[in-house]
Assembly symmetry: C2
Homo-oligomer: 433 residues x 2
Amino acid sequence: MRIVKLSQESRQNLLENLLKRSPGNYGQYQDTVQEIVDRVKTEGDKALFELTAKFDWDGISKENVKVTEEEVREAYDTIDPALTETIRKSLKNIRDYHEKQKQYSWFDTTPEGTMLGQKVTPLASAGVYVPGGKAVYPSSVLMNIVPAKIAGVDHVVMCTPCNKEGKVNPAVLVAAKEAGADEVYKVGGAQAIAAMAFGTESIPKVDKITGPGNIFVALAKKAVSGFVSIDSIAGPSEILVLADETANPRYVAADLLSQAEHDEMASAILVTTSMELAEKVSAEVDGFVAVLSRKEIIQKSLDNYGYILVADSLDDAIETVNMIASEHLEIVTKNPFEAMMKVRNAGAIFLGEYSSEPLGDYFAGPNHILPTNGTARFFSPVSVDDFVKKSSIIYYSREALEKVHKDIEYFAKAEQLTAHANSIAVRFEQKED
Amino acid sequence: MRIVKLSQESRQNLLENLLKRSPGNYGQYQDTVQEIVDRVKTEGDKALFELTAKFDWDGISKENVKVTEEEVREAYDTIDPALTETIRKSLKNIRDYHEKQKQYSWFDTTPEGTMLGQKVTPLASAGVYVPGGKAVYPSSVLMNIVPAKIAGVDHVVMCTPCNKEGKVNPAVLVAAKEAGADEVYKVGGAQAIAAMAFGTESIPKVDKITGPGNIFVALAKKAVSGFVSIDSIAGPSEILVLADETANPRYVAADLLSQAEHDEMASAILVTTSMELAEKVSAEVDGFVAVLSRKEIIQKSLDNYGYILVADSLDDAIETVNMIASEHLEIVTKNPFEAMMKVRNAGAIFLGEYSSEPLGDYFAGPNHILPTNGTARFFSPVSVDDFVKKSSIIYYSREALEKVHKDIEYFAKAEQLTAHANSIAVRFEQKED
């Protein structure tokens, strides 16, 4: 891996390089995707099935688009029962963690007869997108469905493309069933997103669409945003390790590679105060790459977006961490908790030598769908919050309103909104005669 | 106002008519706006000032784009001191309410040496957009800035267009100062949104942009979404009153008009179980319209999007309320609290005879920036939540990881992610030799 001395210039170059991967730069496919979205919106199933026949399976029809109970049973029979067991263990942890995110409705009253509050209501329905293709991630199925179900969403549907024989990946089906998906549909791509956003004869319209996908899926989600709610558009995966001289270079190297293997656009960065560690990690990386099964992807990812930055001080290093705002941040320093207190921007923070990033991907419980590409500056991990919405609650008694009615009327008139003022004044007109 | 018997068909027609107002249908200006955004992104101040000179004030320059302390003092001297006092009273209530929305970081531990949690961090900066033109709303300035400040945002900037003489509305300036804006810039339109999203020589880049605006502002916010966070795109204002025979028709009529006066696209709907109330409200509306200052706007709004729906039962009425998912909902029934329990979708819910909608616009404390156009199905009022983001916190001790490491490795391998498995395995390799 390239070792670079941290400077304003090297950091700026790195930041600009990373931002090349932004899903905000996908503009060139926008018209194609908009066309697909518009077709599905107006033609419904007809367009959905034509597009699915073209890209995925030419046998698709109204009769077989929905995965049957029989197909789900087949999936359980197909996969290694040990995987079902592991999914269940992982699911328990994910559920336990997300339970703690639940927010409650609240209100506050005064004896003058006012009640103000906030009513929390789950969304009525949610749609989860799960990509097909070679990279099949049942763990992502769990991470999308659990927060929706814990939030109290009644109806969770899932869309995922099938293969040329009309089959959905069995591990994905088992994960969906275990997590509590109500229905699974064999459609994918921009057309699946449009179907969930606007509804078709076969696919129900949902309130929110979440889940990762390729560039067409990402653009389709952006196109339907506002008609439904969407999660943030995921960019390529990222890991940033903040380490000092106390870190184990072999562990750090292995962790960097765990994200580099995702795809050629993934980014793996070490920021360290120790040149010695930098060199050792670089050597360990070389050793691992030679033997790992996804070595071609890893090598390209490291060449494109892999960096080891050597900083003069831990504070400089942390400042850089905050500027990069990585999806995953591991802190492997003498006092990781203290360093964490200075971190403003990161999707998930893994503390200490044994909190390796894949622990969070698969098992610990926190959601692994995290803000990427610097958006941890303002976005949060997918959570139960994403599947509820709030309504303000306002109650004033006559006595309470009477005390303040002149102020409200005055403010409304100052904004030239006389009908606003009138709606308050009318309630006190007899008294003021 | 037109009185319509509630039926599946009449409801469907109403819903389709309302959706015509969706900001999702603004496509025709998209290219113009994208061009403005791209120009400001690449050319910075040069483009920003050229566009401002063209649309707002030809005297704009690097030296005068930022509102000075002197201009703020002038604004205080210009407006009625009573308005400053009213702003302060309102501000106190808004602050008190938003304080209660604060979320705290949390963590949970087990004696095996695991700690999981969620760290809540305020955004570093926020940009508030305030429209210029005839409709000048200092109350909206408060509603945008207060949640950001309560969340702990360090740097809150505001952009608002100035008039042909380079002056910003004084009431807006006073409200900004009172609410705690750190800087105010005299720029507006799509170019102001682009400036805050990407930064220019004069305008700092922010993490989140909120605030209403015209069609160009809305499209610009959509265009920069993902590069920064944005609030949801606001459509025209809406009020829905759910009332039974116990409601005072004069109050209901006045409240409907308080939203109808906003603009010709605004919508005012009464859903009632009482034909008698329907007729009385209609008559009261006619009486008020004749004397209100904004009668032309009100009449057009009522002709376009005003309805009185008469339902057979309260349950039918509430079902319709949930389908419309109005920005503002007033419940004026015998037992408004019980009706509220059945409401799933509404931006703000006003309960009882004296909780008139403008009370929420100006004074009670809850935010008046609310989801419009049916998006209350999935969006929430602007709140402190919008100005914080979360990071997951994950810590496992060696002992804790050791207990589960085989499950994690197994799951990773099942997803063909061998480098993920390796990053766990490497931590136990000596023991397993």
